[in-house]
Amino acid sequence: MTRYIMRRLLQAIPLLVLVSLIVFVLANAMGDPLASFGGRRRIRSSDRERLTRQLGLDKPITVQYAVWLIGNDWMDIDLDGDGIADSKGTRQGILRGDWGKSFMEKRPVTDLIRERLPNTLLLMVASEIVIVVSSLVIGIYSALKQYSFVDHLITGLSFVGYSMPIFWTALMMMYVFAVKLKQWGLPYFPTVGKYDLSVGPTLAQIAWHMVLPVTSISIISVAGYTRFIRSSMLDVIHDDYIRTARAKGLTEKMVLFRHALKNASLPLVTIVGLDLPLLLGGAVVTESIFAWPGMGRLYWNAAQDTDVPVLMGILMLISGAVVVFQIITDITYTFLDPRIRYD
């Protein structure tokens, strides 16, 4: 098992290098990082030239990538524009743990990510729990009561939920449950933010502010997962060994949870395993609409401002997580299905 893990990790390295290369080239081609620098006024030409030099953007793209990877403190760079490279570089490169500094905020990328990541995790893990639990319950119920009216209703609703654009769902939720409820004098949800400034970050406040964003995110995924679990359960329920278990006289509950669920959940593990690392990217639109201070917005702002170090940082984080989670998923398989073995 350990050898298997090591092998997978080693295989992941070229993948990560490839991803970083492609993303770096694309991110730099995306736009001009200095365009957003002047605020409302466009940046002056003398300053543009100086900043280009200081941020290292005047070097060819291969050199820039190398600097991002291994830093430039081992070579001399020309900081003051006199054409003579006489100052030492200050960057160490990501391989030595230096993720670089954001162009816009001029702060280490690791600081930015560290500030936002917990907020995103809070939102997305809560959403994922809601999604998995709800879809399991609804999906199993739907499978057991196949072709009943409830089943059709659930199927219909899940299709509808599945077909709605996320931004519409989020805006509608905010509009109905925050603005309109308040206008009608009913108890209402807050519009934006993680908590009310006057009250402070208490658990109750944060939980209250999380309701609307979590619901918006969950609706669409619950719809999709429910369909999936339903068909997965249907596959399993009609298998022979389930019939045997029932014939043996086991209670329905035992049949469901001991036998059916374990096998039906294999595909679910795949999906959850694939989805979890993407959670780190946050839900860009939902976070924007609900002003949740998470990774999604950091990501979107960095994309809009062409803040290359931040983009690289976030994407490498996500890619790394994808690799790790795929390995974890594969290992979880072995617990769920003893027939699966790796060497």
């Binding site: 003398s46 543009r48 816009m104 905020e105 907020n119 925050a178 400034l197 609409i289």
Partner: protein, 604 residues
């Protein structure tokens, strides 16, 4: 209950009963005639720059005076803290003015870090760290205009009690110019115009290397605390990474930073050591809400007291909320503008459509589009098309031609210029070239996109074809070196909101020397305009220290630009701000929006 508690209850009951009696004891009012001398401030343009002059005015007023009886008023229970909340759609990138690039950062800085003076809502200087505004009259500007002396306000203090001195300003200048501070955003205008900055008896003395008319609006609008940052500089060799940049512990403004949760919010609290005394408000909360719809929801729900930089399309919604929201349109020098690409050098890729070289074609475009209707319908009549860039300032040429909608005249001009539809395809042509113009602007602003489709239709009616090529903000403004569409002339009509160096009228984008090329890729004259007369006038105004003569020069400038239709005004783009009814005394300035934050108050 214990006996002590009982006594307290009785005391409170008695006090509550007594309070109304204080009102009953009001005696009958007397009518008194008073002669009052008021001192009012007026803006007068006297040699130098706009200057504040005090005048005495005598008035006779009748006033009802009520004799107040001294009554023992019971101590009021501690009042609710006075808080104003606002929402920013972008988070400041730094709180140190030499580093920040974002407009929102400058906004927050208005609250805690004013410089020599701020520019108020009628564009007069409101003195902060300076004791007097320098003019030639009071001798603080030298005869040749090359030396300016600014006495520092003796009451000005930092929030830790240390006085603000001219040394702090010299330190600020040094930090801006020091190459060890790599991340400094801009060294302009210091590097270009300043010879030296020194201290003389707690006055700041600036020695210019070149006469610089715009000095009062572009220099020292903030100041760094030397006693806090000098040690950092000495130990680290730079202040790029100083903690003060994110957490300014020592400030000189009305408020100081209490907390900043990245991505979430900033809170500022009143600064007791502010030189005007503690401000009325106790706290200001700034929430970071990136989505403009969510911000509107916040305004509707009453979660925000100040709406910042709102889109004009929200005006009907705001008008419906007029019982608890007030709108303010604030002059900021911005105008939504159309620029024509007049490049004609050998590098063909840069060249605009040949038709645009003819002034009649440009004028035809101006007459063909009904900008008034656009302002009336799309902008709810809240603004109008400005005939010059310096609209609402004394620098605008007063007799400029507004190019009122006249499609027949447009067609006549085009016919006269030789552009007719010879092949019947709907667009005019000449010598085999179709009159199809590339119309470029940035994506993402609803009004801009609406203007685009409406203008397209109107131009099609006079036979001018339009091809839309929009890009997202940073792609649009890519530099010449990176092949940015505007910088490399890949447009015929470019639309964006443009301003001069408000409140100073200067700008450099019209100069021949600013045309970008491979040798000088950073020029800002993307339209390729090289008009000798215009060039001479702009160079003259840069060094003209006499404000009256300067105004005359700009009249000439705006006249030429108007007659030759180099630039068209689409709408006068004042900033749209809102305040909730509970926020009092909030007056926005186009230059330093939060300049009077020390006067802000709330009334619940």
């Amino acid at each position: 209950m214990k006996s002590r508690t009982w006594k307290l209850v009785v005391a409170i009951v008695i006090a509550t009963l007594l309070a109304p009696l204080a009102g009953c004891a009001t005696p009958a009012p007397e009518v008194v005639e008073k002669v009052v001398t008021q001192v009012i401030k007026e803006t007068v343009i006297v040699e130098g720059t706009p200057q504040v002059v005090e005048k005495e005015v005598t008035k006779v007023i009748e006033k009802e005076v009520t004799k107040v009886v001294e009554v023992e008023v019971p101590v009021e229970p501690e009042a609710e803290p006075k808080v104003i909340t606002m929402m920013f759609t972008q988070e400041p990138d730094s709180l140190n003015a030499i580093y920040y690039g974002m407009w929102y950062a400058a906004l927050v800085a208005d609250l805690f870090n004013p410089g020599l003076w701020t520019w108020n809502d009628v564009l007069e200087p409101s003195l902060e760290m300076a004791a007097e505004f320098p003019t030639k009259d009071n001798g603080l500007i030298s005869e040749d205009g090359m030396t300016v002396t600014i006495p520092i306000n003796p009451d000005a203090k930092w929030s830790d009690g240390e006085p603000v001195t001219a040394e702090d300003f010299v330190f600020t200048y040094e930090m801006i110019m020091d190459p060890a501070n790599i991340a400094v955003n801009s060294t302009w205008p210091y590097a270009d115009y300043v010879e030296n900055v020194t201290v003389e008896d707690n006055s700041l003395v600036i020695q210019f290397s070149d006469t610089f008319a715009a000095w009062a609006t572009t220099m020292f609008d903030f100041v760094l605390p030397k006693h806090v940052l000098q040690p950092v500089y000495e130990s680290e060799g730079t202040i790029d990474d100083a903690e003060w940049n994110r957490d300014p512990t020592v400030v000189n403004g009305a408020f100081k930073l209490k907390e900043w949760e990245a991505g979430g919010y900033l809170t500022l609290e009143a600064n007791d050591n502010y030189w005007r005394g503690r401000p009325n408000l106790d706290q200001i909360n700034i929430l970071i809400v990136p989505d403009s719809e969510a911000q509107m929801n916040g305004i509707k729900a009453g979660d925000t007291d100040i709406g910042i930089f709102l889109s004009y399309s929200e005006i009907p919604t705001l008008q419906a909320l007029e019982h608890y929201v007030d709108m303010q349109m604030v002059l900021s020098g911005y105008n939504e503008s159309w620029f024509f690409n007049l490049n004609t050098d050998e590098t063909a890729a840069k060249n605009g459509h040949p038709a645009l070289q003819d002034v009649r074609v440009r004028q035809a475009v101006a007459y063909a589009v009904d900008f008034d209707a656009i302002c009336q319908e799309l902008l709810y009549g809240e603004t109008y098309p400005p005939p010059t860039k310096w609209e609402e300032t004394p620098y605008a040429y007063p007799d400029a031609n507004p190019y009122k909608y006249d499609p027949e005249k447009a067609k006549a001009l085009l016919d006269e210029a030789g552009w007719v539809d010879s092949n019947g395809d709907g667009t005019r042509d000449k010598d085999g070239v179709e009159l199809v113009l590339i119309y470029a602007t940035t994506q993402g602003r609803e009004i801009r996109e609406q203007t685009q489709v409406v203008a397209m239709q109107m131009l099609a009616e006079v036979g001018i074809g339009i091809e839309v090529q929009n890009g997202s903000y940073d792609v649009f403004w890519n530099s010449y070196g990176e092949g940015g569409p505007i910088a490399t002339g890949q447009f015929d009509i470019g639309e964006w909101s443009d301003s001069f160096s408000f409140p100073d009228p200067t700008e450099s984008q019209w100069l021949c020397s600013e045309i970008p090329s491979d040798e000088s890729p950073d020029g800002s004259n993307w339209y390729g305009i090289c008009d000798e007369e215009l060039d001479a006038l702009f160079r003259a105004q840069e060094v003209e220290m006499d404000p009256v003569k300067r105004i005359e020069l700009f009249h000439e400038v705006s006249k030429i630009i108007n007659e030759k239709a180099y630039w068209l005004g689409v709408w006068h783009d004042n900033d749209l701000w809102t305040t909730s009814k509970r926020a009092k005394n909030v007056r926005f300035s186009g230059a330093d929006p939060f300049w009077n934050c020390f006067e802000w108050d709330v009334e619940d």
